[in-house]
Symmetry: C2
Amino acid sequence: MDAEAAELKLLDTAERLFDERGVQSVGMDAIRTASGVSLKRLYQVFPSKDLLVEAVLRRRDETVRAALTAHGARVADGPYERALAVFDWLAGWFAEPEFRGCAFINTFGELGGVAPAVATIARDHKESLRAYLAEQTDALGAPPVLADQLALLANGAMAVAGITGSPEPAAQAKAAARVLLDAARP
Amino acid sequence: MDAEAAELKLLDTAERLFDERGVQSVGMDAIRTASGVSLKRLYQVFPSKDLLVEAVLRRRDETVRAALTAHGARVADGPYERALAVFDWLAGWFAEPEFRGCAFINTFGELGGVAPAVATIARDHKESLRAYLAEQTDALGAPPVLADQLALLANGAMAVAGITGSPEPAAQAKAAARVLLDAARP
DNA sequence: GCATCGGGAGAACGACCGTTCTCCCGATCG
DNA sequence: CGATCGGGAGAACGGTCGTTCTCCCGATGC
């Protein structure tokens, strides 16, 4: 197994284990066993656990941004529908059997107070969601605060769906978002 | 120091340290040093760290429920104002200098996957917030889903305020809540 | 006054974790 | 073919953590 394949397998494995059990409950040995990548190779590719954690979060950040944009472009035309489509995307995510909440909310809760890099990545990720929503609301001519409010609904849905295990918050948030969007129409 | 005073000091100290650094980053020795309670006494009162964590969360659960109810009864009359007052209470909380997010969201992210007791306490706590909001919306004759939606706004505000460090989400969520409440008026 | 008890301080213990090291094998290249 | 290199498996190391144990002191009761 070459370095590139090892990196991919490590990121996949670490992301899955971190999502399931949190970061600190997963030892490097568990990642090695589950990935089949030797410890030597692991530390060649990611010289420390901190760097692996950050790499996992950064890749997830890019994945989510791309998926959201792609979903919006695919299923919706126009900013109104694209803003609402965010909540359909959430619904699909929440319905995945292994869903256990947003990795950024969860990891910030665990490490945000002691790992500034993690806190920064989480902050940037949440800002990117807000910015994506702001693109849509700006195009509608709605006031800027609407994007923040839609982001609150989305993040609240992630938190509550993670804790309760129910996918319903996506639909509830979508309905609320529609009310806010309609009320803000110029 | 007797057992009762030790328990109080331990809960206070542990809650503060857990909020600052997360649970797993805080050793029992740090709690002992910061609280001034000896290890022997600590393990007399809380026979394991797991039990201490659960006790901290359970006390916080009661504190928050009581504070929310008291705040609602004090500053507002009528269900409409009481529902909105929840977000004023959030604003005061977010403005505290040591605020670093909701303990239940944070601890669920860290331990929810490996500590079922923690997951249950977090779930119950979030359900109690929803139930409190449902009391208000029911009194207004609004459809039941409105309480869920207000809870999503509140939880989204907690998550975003924790991650960004800004208290603004409280006001943004309150404005959105007002729109939803007005739209649901029979 | 002396034996007893409970508690404080912190050392000690066993487990685990992140990281590094050792040993060995198989491939590559002259 | 023989030397060299890179990597795999896992042992080893240093540190930390949760938990327990030891030692000592002061208070209490007869």
